[in-house]
């Protein structure tokens, strides 16, 4: 008579430990790649919150990633705020943007919802180009040297150090994973899934489904923006390409491959896809064709993604 998911919690803990140990095993080049994977999988985890758990397919999540990226990056670039403050501002910025966009976009459903989120995201992308004098537009802005390190509790953390970057990314990843575990495996997550599975029924059980969807949307956007803020500050660069359509699609791909509606799917999907692109682009410039074929295959035979398929066939608790 239990609704808790101890096995999944154990798997999450093991995953984090394995990730931590990997930095002592992997060569520096791969540790850097893993740092990127960790940050991008936070992005995909945010996306998965909305698409995987709540069943709302957004095509505009780059706008939340960019909201975090720009709110954090611009505030440290122009006002010289310290990195932890900039990071916090990035999260607040993404929260505000996702709440407002959510209020508007959630008035639509299904295909209209996809189009509305895409349109908002494109408008955001064009704004970053329109205000090139501030944002740096296509060229972007490189954060100044004094924004490449910060002191915290007496320690100086250097953003150009691979070790510092990896462990910071792992820390944020772990926190987000913990938060998402608490949300998705508890009462609130049950309502997200209820909306995904049968929204009219959920209404007739006494729930305001608009409020549930808005909550999921805001959590999703805020987490995606957290990834954006971290990415910008960690690699010291902000540019409009992060607000582009391709970035939205990548979050979708990572989630689809890993398994929508599984907690660890986005991490797996991001790792598989980035490593694949990395290897393939070394062999051929036409690597996107291979990716395309792979996606078609996955969608035809494994529409639930890697972990989603494993969950349905063998491990029911993997959600």
């Amino acid at each position: 008579m239990t609704l808790h998911n101890g096995k999944l919690l154990a798997l999450c803990v093991v995953t984090v430990i394995v990730l931590f140990v990997l930095q002592f095993v992997l060569p520096p080049y791969l540790t850097l790649a893993l740092t990127r994977i960790l940050i991008l999988s936070v992005f995909a985890m945010g996306y998965n919150m909305l698409m995987g758990y709540t069943g709302l397919l957004s095509l505009g999540h780059a706008m939340f990633f960019a909201a975090g990226l720009y709110a954090a990056g611009l505030s440290t670039y122009y006002w010289g705020v310290t990195l932890p403050v900039a990071f916090l501002l990035g999260i607040i910025g993404a929260f505000a943007v996702s709440l407002v966009i959510g209020l508007l976009a959630l008035r639509t459903q299904a295909v209209s919802f996809m189009i509305v989120t895409l349109m908002f995201a494109q408008a955001g992308y064009l704004m970053t180009l329109q205000f090139t004098s501030i944002t740096g537009g296509d060229q972007g802005l490189t954060l100044p040297t004094d924004a490449r390190s910060f002191g915290l509790f007496g320690f100086v953390v250097d953003m150009t150090s691979d070790t510092a970057r990896f462990n910071l990314a792992l820390l944020i990843f772990t926190v987000v994973l913990g938060v998402l575990f608490a949300i998705t495996q508890g009462p609130l997550g049950r309502l997200f899934v209820a909306v995904r599975e049968n929204e009219p029924r959920t209404q007739m059980l006494g729930f305001d489904t608009y409020a549930i969807k808005l909550t999921a949307f805001t959590v999703s956007g805020t987490i995606s923006g957290t990834a954006g803020a971290l990415y910008g500050l960690m690699f010291g660069y902000i540019g409009s390409s992060f607000a582009g359509f391709q970035n939205s699609i990548e979050a979708l791909l990572y989630t689809l491959i890993g398994g929508p509606g599984t907690l660890l799917g986005p991490l797996l999907g991001t790792a598989v896809m980035t490593m694949l692109i990395d290897r393939l682009s070394g062999i051929t410039t036409a690597y996107l064709i291979v990716i395309g074929v792979l996606l078609i295959v996955v969608n035809l035979w494994f529409p639930k993604g890697i972990l989603g398929t494993i969950r349905d066939r063998w491990l029911g608790w993997l959600k």
Binding site: E197, R201, G206
Partner: protein
């Protein structure tokens, strides 16, 4: 005091008057059946009560409060539970999870509850509701794979877990076998000890066995209302049902 009352309640679909000026009153504690020929407006009428569709005219009062403009989910919060005519469950989830969603609405009504009710309590309430309808052994079965009769019972269990003041059952015995119907009647009787039951039903044996009072609808209007005995001997009802001249 009446539990539920309607005044001139109407719903028109273009030219069709599905529900047409119905004045209706329901006392607390009774089991009321609504019967009527196909297309009489029974399902539309209870949908208006639950708030799933909006009336064209008229008002609905619940515990003397005008709830006409209130969205469905708020009416559920007030104590009006509705079970669907066509089985409407979360097919991919387990029986326990299905009922837990309903139980959660009662135990943890706010999304961000500051005093969160533990998952254990929700699970306990859901298990209890499942046992009350006889699904206690099937808690971890996937709801979509259950036999049809069990899915109907799951619908009722979800209604029960809300602990409603008024439980609206829309053709609950449709498609059930005789033995399942017998069990179902037991369940309804037990529910009626703590809640008012409004039952739309085609099976006259069930209606006669359960209902304290019967309301007959025809072409969107109340044709007759009374005890089962009155209704059986009512000439107008016989005419409507059997097509015999009154």
């Amino acid at each position: 005091m009446t539990l539920l009352r309607t005044k001139g309640l109407s719903r028109h679909f273009d030219g069709l008057k599905a529900v047409d000026g119905v004045d209706f009153a329901l006392d607390p504690g009774e089991i009321r059946a609504i019967i009527g020929p196909n297309g009489a407006g029974k399902s539309t009428f209870v949908s208006l009560l639950s708030g799933r569709i909006k009336p064209s005219a008229g008002q609905v009062f619940f515990e003397d409060r005008d709830v006409t403009g209130m969205p469905a989910h708020k009416r559920v919060r007030m104590g009006i539970a509705y079970t669907f005519q066509i089985t409407n469950i979360y097919g991919a989830m387990t029986v326990l999870e299905n009922i837990a969603i309903a139980a959660q609405n009662r135990l943890r009504p706010h999304l961000f509850s500051r005093k969160p009710v533990s998952e254990v309590q929700i699970a306990r309430a859901a298990t209890k509701a499942a046992q009350e309808v006889g699904l206690g052994d099937l808690l971890y079965e996937t709801a979509g794979t259950l036999a049809y009769g069990h899915q109907r019972l799951l619908e009722v269990a979800m209604g029960l877990a809300l602990q409603p003041k008024l439980l609206i059952l829309d053709e609950p015995t449709q498609g059930l076998s005789d033995s399942e119907i017998g069990n179902f009647q037991e369940v309804v009787r037990r529910v009626a000890q703590s809640a008012t039951v409004l039952l739309i039903e085609h099976n006259m044996d069930v209606v006669m066995a359960l209902a304290d009072r019967i309301t007959v609808l025809e072409t969107g209007q109340v044709l007759a209302e009374g005890s089962p005995g009155d209704i059986v001997s009512n000439d107008a009802v016989q005419a409507a049902y059997l097509g015999a001249p009154a």
